[in-house]
Amino acid sequence: MAAPRPARGIFTRLVRMRSALAALAVLILIALACLVGPGLTGHDADRAYPDLRQLPAGLAAQPDAAHLGPALERLAFRMRVRLEAVVRDGDTLRLTLGSDAGVDRRSLVYLPRSGLFGTPAITEERDGGRSLVVTVPIRSLHFLLGTDVQGRDLLTRCLTAGRVSLAIGLAASLVALLVGVAYGATAGFLGGVIDAAMMRFVDVLYALPFVFFVILLLVFFRPSLTLMLVAIAAVEWLDMARVVRAQTLSLRERDFVRAAQALGVGAPGIITRHIVPNTLGPVAVTATLLVPQVILLESFLSFLGLGVQEPQTSWGVLVADGARSIEAAPHMLAAPALFLIATLVALNLFGDGLADALDPQAG
């Protein structure tokens, strides 16, 4: 086998770096969308349109002709009136409502409350109030990714869910990062018996079936965000501790550390000023690859019903909802799954690219 030509090596690395940059762009896009998006979709995450359940994804304005009839039937039933005539004129409806006991005007409030119509105006009253002609504007709603079982806008829900998923991913990773770096650097720098004991403890923790413990914790105590954060961070700091310790072991013998020691700098000073800054490269890579793991674990727990609880939502919760109604409405699985997978792929690609960029030998 011929050794790879340098040009090709550079080309490959360029491609990989480009994929890493694309991944970063996707990540920023998703984060921005989750941050500001829910305010721009025109729907509240909790706003349910009972007449527009499980709409497929699409650009068409709602309610369309197919949904208007059933929606009016349902509203008429609620208002205890008969629908005597329905005439559609562009964006307005002319409804003739009838009731033997007289149409109660207060019941007109049901029309705007459904979310599908604007404020109704009475144009004509017949038979001494037993019949009422009402014009009401039809609202034009857009559900780009469709709606869920309760008729909530899926795009808005995916974006607000993303806030929770990303926040948990970042927060738990940050905790794991801090604990892991502090632990690993201390063990590696102090060395000897302390190092052996500290790393033996990590080995013991590795052998524990942690996912089972997390599930136990969340089943037995009421699932809460804090508990889940703590549980996830408790699982995920081990890799970081190992990486940092390995780095520290080699850094400890370097001249600048020796020099600092000779100058009388104490162990905490050396660890924070000289060791930790020099481990940042591998730490950054490990941390980038940690975030998708945390998000995956969070959505796994939420999928099992042990993680984020209603009314809050996360991608795992939405995927679980989607998986339950996959036959009737496959878009309910597809939409949150795409958000989740895109985020995870982007994070993994970015982490890989970062690792390659920091290690010119591999690539």
Binding site: P4, T12, A207, L208, P209, I215, L216, F220, I341, A362
Partner: protein, 307 residues
């Protein structure tokens, strides 16, 4: 070598004890009990039940008697499955989980290592470039997304394979769960193999072998021996997690494996069943890690001296 094994087994005893202690007291501290039904039992009946199962004694006494029966190899009676011992339940669930996990491990290791080697030998080749994106993709595909998609595609639309269920281990029932379990690991293993073999191929001994004119296949074989070390070390914990069953895969496909028993046990406050499954998983993790270490020592003579 034997001394090494004995020492490792002795070292694992504190770990197992920690697992037992933590899970035992964690469960007892939690609110709720195994006999909390939707319609509360009469206090007298509850009292009787608690006495029969020994739950009325002080916690520490219960813990002692659990340890004592454990020493006899008895995991106790199940609280939620009437008239069943935990051992019987595990004997029922383990073959299911082990079959799935074993097949998934074979599939993942075969495909993953194969692809990784191909990518490392042809740096920048088609497989290598495909792996860059493909590995990140398979690693990022959550099993709870893959499983319903596979069910829709092969179970509902094409009707090639059954949707769910165990079917007494019929091969057609195994395909979808095994693929779901193996898929994320194929990418991880391929990436690991590629990185590790790529590193070994750049070392001095390999260059020397090449310059001496050894056929490429023989060089690769020699290099592979060293390159497989991190892969084998990774396979240990991976095997443990696959063999003890993925909770999600067993739930989605409705398979009566260990993971299902664990979740049901936890939801029903079935103390002994949960303890039994956790203990089994911990034991398997330790045993398979030991196995992986032994395999590493066999692959790399330097590690034998250190042990």
């Amino acid at each position: 070598m034997i001394r090494f094994i004995v020492r490792r087994i002795a070292q694992s005893i504190p770990t197992l004890l920690a697992v037992i202690t933590v899970s035992f007291f964690l469960m007892r501290l939690a609110p709720g009990g195994p006999f909390d039904l939707e319609r509360p039992l009469a206090p007298a009946a509850m009292e009787n039940l608690r006495r029969v199962y020994g739950l009325d004694r002080p916690l520490i006494v219960q813990f002692g008697s659990y340890l004592a029966s454990l020493a006899h190899g008895d995991l106790g009676p199940s609280f939620s499955f009437r008239d069943m011992r935990v051992l019987d339940l595990i004997a029922r669930g383990l073959p299911v989980s082990a079959t799935l996990g074993g097949l998934a491990l074979l599939l993942a290791a075969g495909l993953g290592v194969g692809l990784g080697v191909a990518a490392a030998l042809q740096r920048g080749g088609a497989i290598d470039r495909l792996l860059g994106i493909g590995a990140a993709l398979t690693v990022s595909l959550p099993s709870f997304v893959v499983a319903p998609l596979l069910q829709i595609a092969f179970g509902l639309s094409l009707r090639w394979l059954p949707l769910s269920g165990w079917g007494d281990g019929a091969p057609s029932h195994l395909v979808l769960p095994v693929v779901t379990l193996a898929l994320p690991q194929v990418g991880a293993l391929a990436r690991l193999t590629r990185a590790s073999l790529g590193e070994v191929l750049r070392t001095q001994p390999v260059r020397t072998m090449r310059s001496l004119g050894l056929p490429p296949m023989r060089v690769t074989r020699h290099a592979l021996r060293g390159a497989l070390l991190p892969v084998v070390a990774y396979l240990g914990p991976l095997a443990a997690s696959l063999l003890t069953g993925s909770v999600v895969v067993e739930t989605i496909f409705g398979l009566p494996g260990i993971g299902r028993y664990f979740v049901e046990g936890a939801l029903n406050r079935d103390y002994t069943l949960v303890m039994g499954t956790v203990l089994l998983v911990a034991g398997l993790v330790i045993a398979l890690n030991l196995l992986a270490d032994l395999a590493c020592a066999w692959l790399d003579p330097r590690l034998r001296v250190a042990t």
